[in-house]
């Protein structure tokens, strides 16, 4: 776990985002990565920007609605009962590799 968090923190410098907290990275590994790092789930994969572009195009509010309420295979809150709204935004940006935009594309 510690090694994974270190790797993720290091990777952030290459995508130009504010660093999430260690707590948020733990939430990422405990919850999000079980699907977003598993090619068999059909979920968009962390580190594969192309798969995230259609999602990012929806804009922040639509994305957050799907994150909180769930959508198809995406479970409500992404399984993260400990997550605040800020946590969910940060984790979504971390997975997608760029900041969520207010305006849909």
């Amino acid at each position: 776990m510690r090694l994974l968090i270190f790797v993720l923190l290091s990777a952030l410098s290459t995508i130009g985002q504010a660093a999430p907290t260690e707590r948020q990275l733990t939430l990422l590994t405990v919850n999000c990565l079980q699907c977003h790092a598993n090619i068999h789930t059909g979920a968009p994969i962390m580190g594969d920007p192309k798969t995230w572009q259609p999602i990012l195009a929806k804009g922040k509010q639509q994305i957050m609605t799907h994150v909180v309420e769930g959508l198809r295979g995406m479970p409500p809150l992404g399984y993260c009962s400990a997550c605040s709204e800020d946590d969910l935004v940060t984790l979504s940006e971390l997975l997608a590799g760029e900041a969520l935009q207010e305006t849909p594309r």
Partner: protein, 469 residues
């Protein structure tokens, strides 16, 4: 034509508006996937995986240590509940007061190579636990068929897998620590607080929050799982042989069809090779085919049966082989709602046959496969397997359909077979019904509960119905 492509092509017929015609299976009403709406800038609601339970807690602590958890629980305001992965279908979690998330309580605290035991934090997800244990040369002897659950929620709600020689997950716990609403951290085992130990292992979180469990594991091992399409009656006729001669056996019965799926799992042998692939969307394909055909007056169900038999009957086996913690769980991305009862093992085939006949005779609009498993008896006070080997039968409905009409037709069948409902899944029983199902220890459990939480701080509305508090 490939089986899946053919079935998908057939399923496409279902979108032609024929569903409204009279006759055949009536389609169930739909309901929104989310029970509550997200409002930007306001505290996010809590919603379970299935999307049928929700709440808006005023306080949502997520302690990162056992000490912090003990303090948070002692000082919690109002009705306090704990949540792990939120995979329970029943309302064991919701509270609008204090909801304690265990996401950050994840990991192996300690382990003993000599005894293959490991002390594990209760928020650890099963999908992580398999790899954590592999790193220390251990493995769970058995695992549920999906690994999204948190260890704590899985154990206290009596999660299980399949295998006549394997008990529920709680039966592999050698000791645990329980944080109480009084601010204590109790060591519980067969020799220390033994009554609390036997009570808390299946307690739906009514006694406190378990911080960690010591698990009796075994040395890391490999498995091979074989999935095969077979006539359901052939499997049931041969059930005694199959459950006895395999480390794990379960089957999926397909409503309105005479074929089913057998799942046989045994220690891997040299030369075992993977074949085919798990298809997480297979249940959606099945649904599309059912919707395309079942509406046809008079012949819909029989045509569906003939189609599945013809197309799936000669399908090659799907084989998965590898580390046990990678073979036991499957990807589950199609949301559903579930009711599961455990009946005495020897009554399992008759109960399943009656359910299948009821679905067929009443033309119930259900296509989601029914899961049938075996679990060894234990002596956990409120375990569904307390004092008896059990056959578990799980009824599922797609997450966007109203499950209630179907479950209402099938639940009384379970009652006739002395069925005990799964604590984390949907059912309609209340305290008086449950007391009759657990004659040996029901009162013992209530006494332990009263002693640990006399002010009922852990009792939400659902738990009050369950335990009559």
């Amino acid at each position: 034509m490939k089986r899946r492509a053919f079935l998908r092509g057939t399923g496409a017929l279902g979108a032609t508006g024929a569903l409204a015609l009279l006759g055949g299976c009536k389609q169930p009403s739909t309901e929104p996937q989310s029970p509550i709406t997200y409002q930007p800038g306001k505290p996010v609601p809590w919603i379970n995986w299935a999307g049928n339970q929700s709440c808006q807690p005023q306080h949502r602590p997520a302690p990162a240590s056992i000490d912090e958890l003990v303090s948070v629980l002692k000082n919690a305001k109002g009705t306090v509940r704990a949540v792990g992965a939120g995979h329970s279908f029943s309302a064991v979690v919701p509270t609008d007061d204090t909801l304690i998330a265990t996401d950050l309580l994840s990991g192996v605290i300690d382990h003993d190579p000599a005894t293959n035991t490991a002390q594990v934090l209760s928020g650890t997800r099963l999908h992580d636990l398999g790899y954590m244990l592999a790193d220390i040369g251990q493995a769970l002897p058995n695992m549920p068929d999906m690994a999204y659950l948190a260890l704590g929620g899985a154990i206290v709600n009596c999660a299980h897998a399949t295998g006549v020689n394997f008990g529920s997950m709680g039966s592999y716990v050698t000791s645990l620590r329980l944080a109480t609403v009084g601010g204590e951290l109790l060591e519980c085992s067969p020799s220390s607080n033994p009554d609390i130990f036997k009570a808390v292992l299946t307690s739906a979180g009514a006694l406190g929050i378990v911080t960690d469990f010591t698990l009796q594991n075994q040395a890391d091992f490999d498995l091979t799982e074989v999935n095969k399409i077979e006539p359901l009656e052939d499997m049931l006729d041969d059930i005694e042989n199959r459950k006895a001669s395999n480390r794990h056996f379960e089957l999926f019965a397909l409503p309105h069809a005479s074929v089913g799926i057998s799942v046989t799992t045994n220690p891997a042998q040299p030369g075992d090779k993977a074949q085919g692939q798990d298809d997480p969307q297979a249940v959606n394909t099945l649904r599309d085919v059912f919707n395309a055909i079942s509406w046809i007056p008079g012949v819909g169900s029989s045509l569906y049966d003939k189609l599945l038999t013809a197309v799936m009957g000669n399908e090659a086996e799907t084989i998965r082989t590898g580390k046990a913690h990678e073979v036991f769980p499957h990807v589950r991305v199609v949301r559903f709602r579930e009711m599961e009862y455990t009946v005495p093992a020897e009554l399992g085939p008759a109960c399943l046959r009656e359910i299948m006949a009821t679905i067929r005779n009443k033309n119930l609009p259900l296509s989601f496969p029914i899961e049938y498993r075996y679990v060894k008896a234990d002596d956990i006070w409120l375990s569904m397997f307390q004092g008896q080997d059990g056959a578990t039968i799980s009824i599922h409905q797609y997450g966007d359909l109203d499950y209630r009409p179907i479950f209402a037709e099938i639940e009384p069948i379970f009652w006739r077979y002395g069925g005990r409902p799964h604590w984390g899944k949907l059912h309609t029983l209340k305290a008086s019904d449950l007391a009759a199902l657990y004659p040996k220890h029901w009162r013992d459990f209530l006494a332990v509960r009263q002693g640990l939480d006399p002010e009922k701080r852990l009792m939400n509305a659902h738990l009050k119905e369950l335990f009559g508090a």
